[in-house]
Symmetry: C2
Subunit: 145 residues, 2 copies
């Protein structure tokens, strides 16, 4: 199970320390870009018709996996699979982003929260019929961050 980058994400954040806690911060969220490699640009056909996308990317700057840890804004140890920490067994990041514009090989998007230069793995259409669960519980995360 081997991955290859399909492009690169560009954000205002040069280090993990600079990254916001999630893609809805800061407010208003800055414009970011996803630049797709030439050999995959053909796969963008009709993407411009979509308002929102799911981006998957490789968290290449994340430290080694940590199965249990206490989040900084919490006082209880949580399992990695109950959090969005980047220190995962398979460090794949996921963001639901708003597509502002598609210009050739470049997607202009909002709501990314990763480091500049992060390798892009996949672009999926966001379909509210299968991807939106407005009534989902925040679970242990009582105070939204």
């Amino acid at each position: 199970m081997t991955l290859r980058p399909i492009g690169t994400l560009h954000t205002p954040w040069r280090t993990i320390a600079e990254c916001p806690r999630n893609g809805r911060q800061p407010n208003p969220p800055p414009l970011c870009t996803a630049v797709v490699l030439p050999e995959f640009v053909e796969g963008l056909r009709s993407v411009e018709t979509l308002s929102h996308l799911i981006l998957l990317y490789w968290l290449d700057q994340a430290r080694s996996a940590e199965l249990v840890f206490t989040p900084p804004f919490d006082d209880t140890p949580r399992g990695i699979f109950a959090t969005r920490s980047p220190r995962r067994p398979n460090p794949i990041g996921l963001s639901v982003v708003a597509l502002e514009k598609l210009n050739g090989d470049t997607l202009h998007v909002r709501y990314l929260d990763c480091v500049d230069g992060t390798p892009l793995l996949d672009i999926k259409p966001y379909f509210p019929t299968t991807d939106c669960e407005p009534g989902a519980s925040m679970g242990w995360l009582r105070r939204p961050v």
Copy 2:
């Protein structure tokens, strides 16, 4: 960029041909399971507090990547990144699932649409504050499937 399975998905569908078009079919959706490998079970702590999860998995039975194709219910060629076809450059599948119960190493979930035995790559909490976009456009896919 190498992945390792963290577990296995179990569904009623033994072949790709048997799989429903998406996880909201059939209705009512059958109960499926995600069984996590012993070395990753600790990472499930607090997952039981969540109502919905995002599962990522490896589409190991998908044929080779196809950048442009005409979906069976459509008459226009679309780019792979505008569709949820499994024939992706990086064949990572994604489902938003409802968690019915966590029992030791086994998550009981609804809304999976993949083949039985699919390798599980990641489990993420679904947070409506960042993952839900009820107003997202269906884009080119005018007739929801």
